[in-house]
């Protein structure tokens, strides 16, 4: 086993550290699933991992490829449908953490997984919300996980697929603070390939909470790779991966390198 590790691995490990026992975590397809599985196999054994299509309390032996993968139901005790997971648990307000990726995130934690350019004539069209919009709206907390690039960390997303702190009003005509609209939840953290961002209690603007100093990341790197002015004054270095975290990720969670791309 190599003692070096990648930004991608540190991102997944940093995200997994945000989860703990006794939480109900709804994970989307992709990297969120890797971070969820890592938490479950290291420090959060009793965490319940849900997936929108099928899984209620999932602890897969082999990494599921999507939220409906047969790997997701192996050994589960109860097999729900999206009517239960999304309609009842998520809509009912029972999910502690929602775990999402996306193509763009903005300074208020709004996420875009719909399109670049205008909706009517997109320069680039993506797959669409899937469950992301629902999870960002109804989970008690949202964790966003995304590669840190200037084109992804933007001042305002081209399309608010998944609402953050300052989002679309009900009539669709203006933007409002999330709390003014009676919406609970909201983005708790953005975990990137450079560090962990959180949101200011008052302004709800993104700031850098910690950064991957051990990987040579500097605060200037983060400022450079972020498409808006970001407060780095509160940032502290994040401890590097432990042996257990790296080994579990590499040998148990994603040994095939499906997401970690070894």
């Amino acid at each position: 086993m190599n003692s070096d590790y990648s930004h991608l691995e540190m991102m997944v490990i940093a995200a997994s550290r945000l989860l703990s026992d006794h939480q109900k975590v709804l994970v989307g397809t992709g990297i969120p699933l890797v971070a969820g599985a890592l938490a479950k196999k290291t420090h959060a054994r009793k965490m319940k991992m849900l997936m929108e299509a099928v899984a209620y309390d999932c602890d897969p032996e082999s990494l599921p490829f999507c939220v409906a993968d047969p790997r997701a139901v192996y050994q589960t005790k109860w097999l729900p449908t999206p009517v239960e997971v999304m309609g009842q648990y998520l809509q009912g307000g029972d999910i502690d953490f929602g775990f999402l990726g996306g193509a763009q995130v903005d300074k208020f934690g709004n996420l875009n997984s719909t399109c670049i350019g205008t909706y009517q004539k997109p320069r680039k069209r993506f797959e669409g919300s899937g469950g992301a919009s629902d999870i960002a709206l109804m989970a008690k907390n949202t964790i966003i996980i995304m590669s840190h690039e200037k084109r992804r960390f933007v001042d305002a997303v081209d399309f608010i697929t998944s609402p953050g702190w300052y989002c679309r009003s009900l009539d669709g005509r203006s933007r409002m603070m999330r709390s003014e609209m009676g919406m609970a939840g909201g983005p708790y953290a953005v975990v990137s390939t450079l560090g962990v961002m959180k949101f200011d209690e008052v302004s709800k603007l993104m700031y850098v909470d910690s950064y991957f100093e051990d990987l040579g990341v500097e605060l200037a790197t983060i400022e450079q790779e972020t498409g808006f002015a970001i407060d780095v004054s509160r940032a502290r270095p994040l401890p590097p991966p432990t042996h257990l975290e790296l080994e579990t990720l590499r040998t148990k969670v994603d040994p095939e390198g499906i997401y970690m791309k070894y």
Partner: protein, 331 residues
């Protein structure tokens, strides 16, 4: 037991029509009724209105085949395998010769909408959608046909204040009402009773909400022991109009307990789908030049299929390589 519901695969063409609102069962890469969809493509159906939530290679392929004029769904993609280039191209490079309207939703609202369809009620309140640009009237993908096309709800959503409890503002969304529902399952009994393992997703709700239901299955079975079996019998036969036995009928998607995703298919398909010309070649080779589904499977090859077969205890295949960039190293 009467077996009047059993049809041949080719007869699927008789029961799905251009203009139909189509629900496709399964979920992105899992349990998609691919063999039946291949028949629709070979029959060159047009003007289909896709309402399944979400879509995978099934939906991208139907779009790339020119079968689809409208879709209202929450996702179209191949998950980590790659991007849905046919769908993308339709929106990024609108082609006046092939009109295509797309209306975006979410998994939560797609679920509530098909639940409302199953309940026979025309709409349902939901907590979802608030705060998202999906709610903005200018982003209503079906704006220009609402009130005109009777198969499309007159409005995309409405809002109202809860008069019963805390007075919160709520969104109402319309029921989904598919004309026809295509499902692929592990087993179906001769009377249509469908057995699903590894997650039913929204298949039961879609069957209930749809006017016509056609089910392909890995195996058609006699009814078997009803007392023992009822926990697995997800869809009652009464809802089902036609059934057809098609082993590997979900290929290249995964069918729990039977076989896994076929990464080779995705590698080839996704590469082809990046350009219109290559996509045309792919369609010619894999759809139109395949006389039958058996012929198609023969072209896929026994060696590849064997590799996909699921381990009985696990429900999936531990042998497939799931990284398209590393496929060549292995087979």
């Amino acid at each position: 037991m009467d077996n009047t519901k059993i049809i041949e695969l080719k007869q699927v063409r008789e029961h799905v029509h251009s203009g139909d609102r189509l629900w496709i069962g399964g979920w992105t890469l899992v349990r998609k009724p691919m063999a039946m969809l291949y028949e629709l493509i070979k029959a060159r159906l047009t003007d289909l209105h896709i309402v399944n939530n979400p879509g995978g290679p099934d939906t991208d392929l139907l779009i790339g085949s020119g079968c689809v004029s409208k879709s209202e769904t929450n996702y179209i993609g191949h998950e980590v395998f790659g991007h849905p280039y046919n769908f993308r191209r339709m929106l990024e490079e609108a082609d006046p010769a092939m009109p295509f309207l797309h209306d975006d939703w979410t998994v939560g609202t797609g679920t509530m909408r098909i639940l409302a369809g199953a309940l026979g009620i025309p709409f349902i309140p939901t907590k979802f959608l608030r705060g998202s640009d999906l709610l903005s009237p200018e982003h209503d993908g079906f704006k220009e046909i609402r009130g005109i096309d009777p198969k499309v709800p007159k409005i995309k959503f409405a809002t109202m204040k809860d008069p019963f409890w805390e007075g919160e503002e709520f969104v109402l969304v319309p029921a989904l009402r598919p004309d026809v529902c295509l499902l692929h399952v592990q087993e179906v009994a001769e009377d249509g009773t469908a057995r699903i393992s590894g997650g039913a997703f929204l298949d039961y709700y879609a069957a209930k909400a749809s006017r016509r239901v056609i089910i392909s299955a890995e195996k058609i079975v006699a009814q078997g022991s009803p007392h023992k079996a009822f926990d697995e019998n997800v869809i009652p036969g009464e809802l089902v109009d036609h059934i057809v036995e098609v082993p590997f009928g979900g290929h290249p998607t995964a069918v729990h307990g039977h076989y896994d995703n076929d990464p080779f298919w995705f590698q080839e398909y996704i590469a082809a789908s990046k350009s219109k010309d290559k996509m045309r070649e792919w369609l010619e080779q894999w759809m139109h030049a395949s006389e039958s589904f058996e012929h198609y499977l023969h072209k896929v090859g026994r060696r590849r299929l064997d590799r996909l077969v699921a381990d009985g205890a696990l429900g999936y295949s531990p042998n497939i390589v799931r990284r398209l960039d590393k496929i060549k190293e292995v087979i």
